[in-house]
Amino acid sequence: MTTTTARGAVPARKAPRGAEGTASRGWRRNHGDLKVALFFIAPAMIGFIAFFLVPTLRGIYLSFTEYSILGDPEWIGAKNYEAIAKDPLFWNALAVTCQYVLINIALQTALALGLALLMQRVAKSTLIRGTLLLPYLMANVIAALLWFWLLDYQIGIVNYLIEGLGLPRVAFFGSEQWAIPTQALINTWRHMGYTALLIFAGLQAIPNHVYEVANLDGASPTQTFWKITMPLLRPVLVLVLIVTVIGSFQVFDTVAVTTQGGPVNASRVLQFYIYQRAFTESDFGYGSALAVILFVILALVAFIQMKFLRGNESDLD
């Protein structure tokens, strides 16, 4: 990421030098194109400031207050954070969210990688490749509702089939053991096509001659996969992992339209708990503090992934 931005900036800097030649060259070289640059950056910048930076800063401020939306925030220092450390529901939410992320990411990445390989080697028709993306085009809420009905205990077709096989019905959303795995599977189903597409793009960037050489050296398909494909795919995989892990941590809509945190606390994921505290119980200070903690966790996860998987370097150069 960083390398491409730096590269992209070079020609932009060159352009006005020729156009506006002479006086105070040094200053102009640095600032002459500032206005033009700002003009192009402005749309993204305004969006970033209005919808990301300001809300983030305000959220951090609110996390140190007691605030019920009606009335003014009241500064209470780190009390929210102290309460969170002692809140069993927070620790439960963290554990539940991690369980969800683990199941979701492990399955999703493995399946997507398999699909991407199939797309590259076998399924070359655009129709089939396009079909893989279909679940992703469906709105999250619709996908969740669709499966909510398909997997219903009493009237769902899946349980009807399970019973037909002579097995006992499964309370996919109602039982504590199944609630999170079920929702992780639903979102795996929805996202794997899109993830596969990203990985597929990465696969196509690997030059063919590398494979030819491997072939000449007599490498088996398994060896080629582990020694050539995986290492060269690493930067793309890291990017995909960072994006999907962050997305996975933010699971909310599936929970909100199906189990709403239950049974008991089995699916009370962090995002849903934040929503519950802030919007249901009007405790926006506490909710903001929870959101800040989630923010820190995600920043750490992204940092660790970048650092240890060397996502910003490619072995191709």
Partner: protein, 447 residues
């Protein structure tokens, strides 16, 4: 550049003064005219209130009412956002569980002066309904519009097949030890896949075709339709006083015994397991023939009697250890938002909604019981006209066996604690005694 700024500033200043004039004029207006925004959540009642609005405008040509209906789930968050953004409706349908917080945050207009000035007769409403909307400081925040109670909906054909007469259904008794004739009826109405009834030898509780009693959910901290009609007959109350209780009683053995008995029905196979209730609604399962009895509220009459091919009977809730029946009594009211630009017209509209003129119109549509006694009787007649005997609901009011819905501060937080705690008990994961700890948490909210 400077010049333009000057001009802009001047223009802004003029605009400001102008808008200030306009704003001042509107907010100090004591004249009752203009447009009133009114919100409600129940789509079934929309036609009735549209009729009321038309009649109201006919009588007060200077005032028009714009009605907006929103589903329950969006209603409250949109309303709260409206309070903050200044776009909330002038008048809206309010709920007992919600209004204490709004009153505390000064979002509601007190109606004390209006009631006094316009001589509103508070005794025309069913007993207790008007007082529900008075806070601890004596301020009145709503005029009652309707009420609801609980009864048993049952499948007439299933009862007949089981040999249970209508007379027996209407005279059930209950106690927390052996469940009385209520449990006997539930057991007898339960049928397994092999056709064996719940009280017969060889009943397979793991393969039940029809449950004697349907299960909606654990009822959280209120149990309005699930268990409050039982627990109240043991003399138990949710909190030390109501409204405005400060100490809850979920640690009381009377309550825990009731819940223990109820949760055990699922263990015995007479009621579905909690984990199977996520999904299709309890009423839909009833219509699909999966349960014989459902305890539910009077606002569901339309839905239960509307299913095709299912003949539905309505029986009163069972008589408990105190020798009486019981039902939670909930009421809605119309409130005025404190930020309204037009308090005079809003007050007029609220008074009209609270009057017999409008409540008779609502009664005629046979969807809910209006708050005014004479209108409620008209609603009972209207239901009868549709072939539905709703006396089991009305009986609670006549016999004064109603218990008020708990009205309290921190209502949302109490639910936040009690919902998972009750789920754990009803699903058999925790003993009923675990509710003592939840009770400590709840009471901690009021310290």
């Amino acid at each position: 550049m400077k010049k333009t700024i000057g001009v802009a500033a001047a223009a802004a200043a003029i605009a400001l003064t102008l808008s200030a004039c306009g704003g001042g004029g509107a907010s100090t207006s004591t004249e009752a005219k203009g447009e009133i925004n009114y919100w409600l959540w129940d789509a079934n009642q929309l036609p009735a209130y549209k009729q009321c609005a038309d009649d109201f405008t006919k009588a007060n040509p200077d005032i028009t009412v714009k009605i907006t209906q929103r589903g329950w789930d969006d209603y409250w968050s949109t309303l709260t956002n409206g309070f903050v953004a200044g776009t909330a409706p002038d008048v809206f349908t309010n709920h007992l569980a919600k209004y204490p917080e709004y009153a505390k945050k000064k979002q509601l207009l007190a109606l004390n002066d209006a009631v006094e000035k316009d001589n509103i007769d508070l005794s025309q409403y069913n007993e207790g309904l008007a007082d529900l909307w008075v806070d601890e400081d004596g301020k009145r925040y709503g005029l009652p519009k309707d009420w609801d109670t609980i009864a048993l909906f049952y499948n007439k054909k299933m009862a007949a097949d089981a040999g249970i007469t209508e007379e027996q259904m209407k005279n059930l008794t209950w106690n927390p030890q052996d469940g009385g004739s209520y449990e006997k009826a539930i057991a007898h109405l339960t049928v397994d896949q092999n056709g064996k009834r719940g009280d017969e030898a060889g009943f397979d509780k793991n393969n039940v075709a029809v449950y004697g009693l349907g299960l909606e959910n654990s009822g959280s901290g209120q149990g309005q339709t699930q268990w409050s009609f039982l627990s109240a007959t043991t003399g138990w109350t949710h909190s030390d006083k109501n409204p405005w209780g400060k100490k809850f009683n979920y640690d009381d053995p009377k309550f825990q015994d009731t819940i223990k008995w109820w949760a055990r029905l699922a263990e015995k196979g007479y009621m579905p397991k909690l984990e199977t209730t996520v999904g299709a609604s309890v009423a839909d399962n009833f219509a699909a023939g999966k349960a014989a009895i459902n305890s539910n509220g009077s606002w569901m009459i339309g839905q239960y009697t509307g299913y095709k091919g299912v003949e539905v009977g309505i029986a009163p809730t069972p008589v408990g250890p105190n020798g009486k029946r019981a039902s939670m009594f909930n009421g809605l009211a119309d409130s005025i938002w404190a930020g309204t630009k037009n308090p005079a017209a809003a007050t007029k509209w609220v008074e009209y909604l609270g009057s017999a003129a409008c409540q008779d119109v609502v009664a005629g549509k046979a969807v809910v019981f209006p708050a005014i006694k004479s209108s409620a009787e008209k609603a009972t007649e209207a239901f009868k006209g549709k072939g539905i005997d709703v006396s089991p609901f009305a009986q609670h009011v006549k016999d004064e066996t109603t218990v008020l819905v708990p009205i309290t501060d921190n209502a949302a937080k109490v639910e936040g604690i009690m919902e998972p705690a009750m789920d754990a008990v009803v699903s058999g994961k925790q003993p009923a005694s675990s509710l003592t700890q939840a009770n400590e948490q709840v009471n901690g909210l009021f310290k």
